[in-house]
């Protein structure tokens, strides 16, 4: 990810980050997104994310 891309994303998200901190944010995002961008999402047939439904009623048994 380039600094220019970080700036583009900031504009789209309507947030401001100090110019002298952009490099640190760029590194953080690069590390976080590296495995995501490396993955060919078509190669995996996961069924997640999914919502789990539970039929048991939610009684007020907090602290039991």
């Amino acid at each position: 990810m380039t600094l220019e891309e970080v700036r583009d994303r900031m504009k789209a998200a309507r947030v401001e980050i100090a110019e002298n901190r952009l490099e640190v944010v760029r590194r953080l995002l690069t590390d976080a997104l590296k495995p995501i961008h490396a993955m060919d999402s078509r190669a995996h047939r996961t069924l997640e994310p999914a919502v789990t439904f539970e039929t048991v009623s939610s009684r007020g048994d907090r602290g039991q």
Binding site: V15, I17, V24, V25, P35, M39, L47, R59, R62
Partner: protein, 462 residues
Amino acid sequence: MASEELFYATIRDIGARFRRRALSPVELTRAHLERIEKLDPKLHAFVTVTADRALADAKAAETALGRGDISSPLLGIPIGYKDIYATRGILTTGGSALLKDWIPDEESTCGVRLQRAGTVMLGKLITHEFAFGIQFPGHRFPAAKNPWDLERMPGGSSSGSGAALAAGMAFGALGSDTGGSIRGPASLCGIAGLKPTYGRCSRAGVLTLSWTLDHTGPMARTVEDCAYLLQALAGYDAADPASSREPVPDYVAPLGRGVRGLRVGVPREYFFEGVDPEVEKGFEQALATLRQLGASVEDVKIQNIQSAGAFMAIMLSEAFAYHERDLREHPELFGELLRERLLAGALITGSEYVQAQRIRTLLQADMNAALRRVDVLATPTSPKPAATFAQVYDPDYGFPRGNTGPFNMTGLPSLAVPCGFTAAGLPISLQITGRPFDETTVLRVGHTYEQATDWHKRHPVL
């Protein structure tokens, strides 16, 4: 002041002293309050000391003991709460200027359960700001210091919990762990800390960092003490949508069964990248000890482990979603570092977040496959010993890569237990991870290793 030995006794030992009337909960609590008064000005582990409440809890425990009530092993045991656990009528700050005056009218489920077990609440322990941002100098709440070296961080975000336990200022603490916030401070402070299975312990009444990664759990000086605390904390809670109805087994009784015949898997990929040589040496020696104790140790492969960094995309996105409104309305109330990290979460697209969750599903399947071959996985907990404040305050200091986050991704139970010291006297830690809801085996391996070594018996000089 009571003897140093008293402050480093185990929960089992304290319970025995109570029962034979060699010590009273009020006496023990008073001694702890004095110790906190003496030591905490230089450690900054506590945000709020609840002396009156502690003495009232201790008197109630004393009354219960007087009528022969010894049903709870935690009766009269002094405990601290990480300051992201809501405490009814008691200041709960989250280590943030935003909540500097917040007095909740509700109690966290974990707090309710510890109180029901008869514990004594000593106070609230400092957390990194909203469990994510280290407090820089000048912050509303000063950062806790590592009792082994006051120039170093105790780790985080359960920083006060780690520091208080290492300094003998409490017998147990509530921590929370989104990417390693129980196991990291446990590792760097030379204590034990357990991140239970996702859904095992309730998150109700605990400030959120990342909904799908947040775990609550116990920290203590020994594995057995963690087991006692987990016994009180574990179990279904309707107030937490992620809470599991999985039955709660006895965590304490099986601790003494040893490790003979158990299979320990070592994933060599990912977890050893950038590991400090002294940490690696301590870890290898721990493996040798486990072999001597009768466990078999083998290398295992976890497919897709190199994708575990996607953990950060999930955490950043969810943390921004949780804090967005306050960030936009009151940015000045967030510490500089936390604000920057949270805003980074705004820069991750919806598609990237979804793909990160899909990577998580793959990783879960891969770890479960590895755990069909072995009973537990072993890795170093933290790749490096505690960093100095000077290092962390460097503006270019990035977010350190950790060995704990992959197990938040997969929700597996994971324990940090001391396994040595560096030449400079800094703690090193072994991380043991097991199958879903198999805290029993994880604790058993940790306890057996711990009892064969004396790392947990060493304490900082304060």
